[in-house]
Amino acid sequence: MTGQPPDDLVRAVEATLFAAAEPMSAEAVSTHLGGADVRAALTALAAHFDGRGVQLVERGGRWHFQTAPDLAHLLRREKEDVRRLSRAATEVLAIVAYHEPVSRAEIESIRGVQTAKGTLDVLLEAGWVRIAGRREVPGRPVIYATTAEFLSHFGLESRRDLPGIDELRAAGLLDPVEDALASAMETAADGAAPPDEDSAD
């Protein structure tokens, strides 16, 4: 953060993102500004706003200004515009985010219950989950993935920022049960060591 007046490009990027109703990718900002290279300006702006009441953040490759998280208590309104999700919807969302792309059958096999039709609809309607095509297996089931809005909403720069995703992956908890079972049985066959995943840690 400096006291220097910003250059014209930084000002233009600042004004564009302030005025934009939706988060914008660097490419979209660049296109809007006649093709200028805006990467450096975005970085400079993010640095300038660091520590202020408003911040410039990148979420899923798209940039937007938002209020600083530590000021949440001042800004929370009586009427929350955030949708309250059912527990089922919350779990389905997490499964889609950590396993994407996933089919409905895969979601159900993790949750152990059928997923009510409305559950995925709520997430699709919220714009957090999208249909990402079909899996090329018999029956060609529809597969689901998260959206850029999902990342914006939950303050994630990318899916790599999903809380604990690295640990979950390392522990094999994102692998299907069958795979984990096979490797556990293998370990058991290899030696006398207990076959549970402790031994793998």
Binding site: A20, F65, Q66, T67, T90, A94, G112, L173, V177
Partner: protein, 265 residues
Amino acid sequence: MSELIDGPAITLDDDWQGVGMAAPHDAALYLELDGWEGPLDLLLDLARRQKVDLRTISILELVDQYLTYIERAAALRLELAADYLVMAAWLAYLKSALLLPREEQPDPSPEELALRLHLRLQRLAAMRDAAARLMGRDRLGRDVFPRGAPEGLRVDRKHSWQCDMFGLIQAYGQVKARTAPVVHMVRDRMVMTLESALTRVSSLLGVNLDWMELRDFLPPHADPRLKRSALASSFVAALELARLGKAELRQEETFGPLMLKGITA
């Protein structure tokens, strides 16, 4: 495997009624049962109440707790969804198999079945934790806010039309070519008219006094298409001349050569 199943046993109170309930009352049990999303959910909750790391949970303990729960609900004649009962039956089977001497155990081994259940519980638990952590993040519109009144960006599209000189004059040329007056020409077909056949046949009859075949009246070296027309016209001319009494016709056999001879008056 043995550690997984027999592993650190968690001592439970005999009169365990479910953690987190003020009064160990059976009515409360019913209410809780209502709150679970299926048997796996209930199992996970029971497993968590063992208050140990899920990785070291005792499956046998868990089976007992589940069966106890279901028995109590049954004793109270509470309506249980079928899948809870299916799970109970399966767990009862698993328990009995686990208690068998190792050599008598069926295939797939109860250890494998237990491990499978264990893995499923771990995965569900992982996702449940992940969901809670996700929901606890600084969420846009709840903890952090976008600009309240963005002006919005507008893009006005303007077409820039493109056309070059060649395209322009070519288009004009084509309009002119297309709308120029058109003369329709019918191609000449090679025919011998009846009139010319009559003239030709009667003049040839006048010269020859002997019988002649009709084909000999045709113009020699003519185009095949003209020949066909000439033959047809000459035949009609011959019939006409016979009708007028100016010629005689003779044919020895069907499709045989048609012979023609002039009648001199």
